[in-house]
Subunit: 222 residues, 2 copies
DNA sequence: GATCCTGAAATTGTATGCAATACTGACTTC
DNA sequence: GAAGTCAGTATTGCATACAATTTCAGGATC
């Protein structure tokens, strides 16, 4: 029945809490406290923290405990720069390799986004936007690239959350999606890449600006 | 004095043994055996395996133990496709941002490669080649990109090892390096990107071919 | 001979105990 | 009053013990 191990469940749960801001960047993650709250021993918690540390969501400072990764605007921008390139790559390849079924799915996802936009439902748009992008990753037919893009996407989630409802972002995002979709469907790989890169860079710029205007939790964590 | 934890040392050591082929792809990694051979308990070994699993070098199948990742030619090619893009990105940005000091270091590394080539020292060339590429990563001045490129480079190490001495590879590699260096120094980012991409893709093609001609250890590991 | 039990042995996953290091805060010294 | 010192406490890192699951050998059945 249940095949996964507890440490993996703990990892997912902690990641979820980081992504949703329950555990905000800079927060200390106490092993005993977490263990108690999840009703398990420290071992699976430790293993989960190690996993999250490898994926970058958590920072483990030897003998000094773990904290939720708190990255500055500089590194955030660097990560978006890479994200933009990965997505551009996905788009360029996807334009060549996408199947009819995947085209249909992508169009459907885009139209679903339109619905969310019309209803001005930011949460829904957020989820559907995610789906749209993941479909492009998958359409690259490079499972490793897909995994890398998805991993970095997840890594950036705690920060995306911050500007879910920036004014008018949905509209501009949606029209950018239209351009991207068009380029992919017409097999213009380089154009799709360029538009995706721009789409992500714009987001990244916004996020980095936002974060730099925010106070950091653990300013003196060295 | 010693600030690192044992599990990190174990991780490094096991990674090294994987990279050098002491633990070949597909090999089973028994926790008690490893613990005994390193003179530690299972705990740090398990933590090390989890880390290596996150970076992809090791595959942990729940309740069924860990094995050295054994990827097929298909995924190997996918990984090189991504590696090519990451390196291209490094090169494109590096051409814009490289400092005078970094230019000098890169030229020096290239010249060192030339020496190794003249002496036909494949091992030395291998190391210096690595250094050359890492200098380009660093010159991108995007520490996250640098880390990602380095991580994937490491991930591919066990396979690079396989064709260290392919006939005449040193010469063609070296002349490709010359073209890359030239493009970077003359600030032609797109050209540098294109040449780096090609440089890596050629390698990837060779590796994938080589691996596909090799017998796999754990062909029936499902 | 192949397939299906079945139970012991082996191996992983989790909990707990102990040792080593880092943190805290009162006290001392200047 | 600020900085340094030195116990005492808290927390992490590692070892060990136990539980849960898988693996595998040896028969039984067809």
């Amino acid at each position: 029945m249940e095949k996964r191990k507890r440490s993996d469940q703990m990892s997912d749960e902690i990641e979820e809490r980081i992504a949703t801001g329950i555990y905000p960047p800079g927060m200390r993650l106490d092993e005993v406290e977490l263990a108690a709250s999840f009703g398990v021993s420290r071992t699976p918690i430790r293993e989960a923290l190690i996993q999250l540390s490898s994926s970058g969501l958590v920072e483990i400072r030897p003998r000094r405990g773990a904290i939720v990764a708190d990255i500055g605007p500089q590194q955030l921008w660097e990560m978006f720069e890479v994200m933009a390139e990965l997505e551009a790559m996905c788009g360029r390849i996807a334009a060549r390799r996408i199947s009819k079924e995947e085209q249909a799915a992508l169009v459907a996802a885009h139209e679903a986004c339109e619905t969310a936009r019309e209803q001005n439902d930011a949460d829904m748009y957020y989820r559907l936007n995610e789906q749209f992008h993941h479909l492009i990753y998958a359409a690259s037919h490079n499972s490793f690239l897909q995994a890398q893009a998805a991993a970095l996407h997840r890594r950036l989630k705690p920060y995306r959350r911050l500007q879910l409802r920036v004014r008018d972002r949905m509209n501009s995002s949606f029209s950018e999606h239209a351009g991207i979709l068009d380029a992919i469907l017409s097999e213009q790989g380089d154009l799709a890449a360029e538009r995706l890169r721009e789409h992500v860079v714009v987001q990244g710029q916004r996020f980095a600006d936002l974060v730099s205007s925010l106070p950091r939790l653990n300013a003196a964590s060295r």
